[in-house]
Symmetry: C2
DNA sequence: CAATGTGAATTATTTCACAGCC
DNA sequence: GGCTGTGAAATAATTCACATTG
């Protein structure tokens, strides 16, 4: 019918996580109120999101936890295995390579790559680090479709170009640089520095503004906090 | 006069990064077209974002790079130093602790914490890892306002509660669990697993749908790709 | 004349509120 | 009676398009 709004897609993994928590506690049925509380969303938003999936909640009863999990998992493509490569095995790449969350989400790590002589040949998280020279060959052989870029910023765009040329269609970019990709390729940018700066913005607001709005009382009439000073 | 939309705030770090790139190439003046191309946004959006800041662009000319940088940096609170603590020095926490981007963005690392006996006392990125027992004291003494949570998911909420009680007002949460905070505290959730799953969703779309929409031709009439099957 | 700044139009997202079903 | 599903309303974000200005 209709495509899922991107905002909905972005919330599904969180729903799935909370449902997993419920399941492990033996809960078999839940409600939009309960689940919304767990994920920190509004019940209405949750119901709307789930309705896009055609998640068969029963009125007066709620949602069946297991069924909902399967449905979200399927929407997220977790039914099929996806091969993932990581390029750039520095501190962050190392941490990502040893991240335990790949397997249980249907992702299979099929290659680690770097250019540094002293890294190539070492084993990280059970995988041997290969030289990026072999990138294209490995991607072809393993049919990898997703890549994690954890290179220095200076290498991010060139790396991305090679990955795309080799057939990668989804890129998770941790390098502190926005990478450009052609249509049809999907990028998610994750940048620690940017996240900190966003927190910094709010921290500044707090220090410039008087009070951060009392829990739910008087609406702090028109505080003259301009963006710049 | 008006507050910046959150979406605008989230884009500012990227603008700042690209402006830094321009500056290091010796560029002194730029246009919304040029900058938009660099950051991957539309020129109109860029102009609107910058206009919120009161960024004094000159019509017919463009923006002065240095001035714009200062203005964005100030909006993001980079003028003041902010003290940051990291809780959870596993693989990821270790990588974050050695991340070089703190200093140049006005963030000062003032404490690393963990519970593991064999980690406490070791030095990571020039800082000694302390036991979380000392968390409250250090936050008070250093006046830290921002915390990075890189604990296992099971410890994330309890850690967050302690941080908030100790006065932290901004939290960057890498643990795979949504944490709840009271009003007035700011949280950014960053979860590798979720990001991968979002990429997984699009990968599935590609495999289920025929073609990923030709660059700009026939609009692929009503592809019957429902969310679930 | 080139490029910003910005109201107006458009599109997307969230919230409301209630009918419908269990 | 309780809780979902969903149109309709409200809000937010983006894009358009053009008057404005150096």
């Amino acid at each position: 019918m209709r495509a899922l709004p991107p905002t909905t897609v972005a919330r599904l993994p969180g729903y799935l996580r909370s449902l997993g928590g419920l399941a492990s506690e033996g809960v078999t049925t839940t409600s939009s109120d309960q689940l919304a509380e767990l994920v920190g969303a509004s019940p209405a938003q949750l119901r709307k999101d789930l309705s896009y999936l055609g998640a068969g909640g029963r009125r007066g009863v709620g949602y069946e936890v297991d069924h909902l999990r399967r449905q979200i998992a399927q929407a997220l493509g977790m039914a099929e295995e996806r091969q993932v490569v990581i390029v750039g095995i520095g501190n962050l790449g190392h941490a990502l390579a040893t991240y335990s969350g790949f397997a249980d989400r249907g992702f299979v790590l099929v290659g680690l790559f770097d250019t540094h002589r002293d890294l190539v040949g070492t084993t990280v998280g059970g995988h041997e680090v290969q030289h990026v020279d072999h990138l294209e060959r490995v991607i072809e052989e393993t049919e990898a479709s997703i890549a994690v870029v954890a290179t220095p910023g200076s290498a991010a765009q060139a790396t991305t170009d090679r990955l795309v040329a080799a057939g990668i269609t989804g890129i998770l970019n941790f390098a502190p640089r926005t990478v450009r990709v052609p249509d049809g390729v999907d990028v998610r940018e994750v940048d620690l520095g940017s996240e900190l700066q966003i927190l910094g913005f709010h921290a500044r607001q707090r220090s410039v503004a008087p009070a951060p709005a009392p829990a739910d009382g008087a609406p702090v009439a028109a505080s003259p906090v301009a963006a710049a000073d």
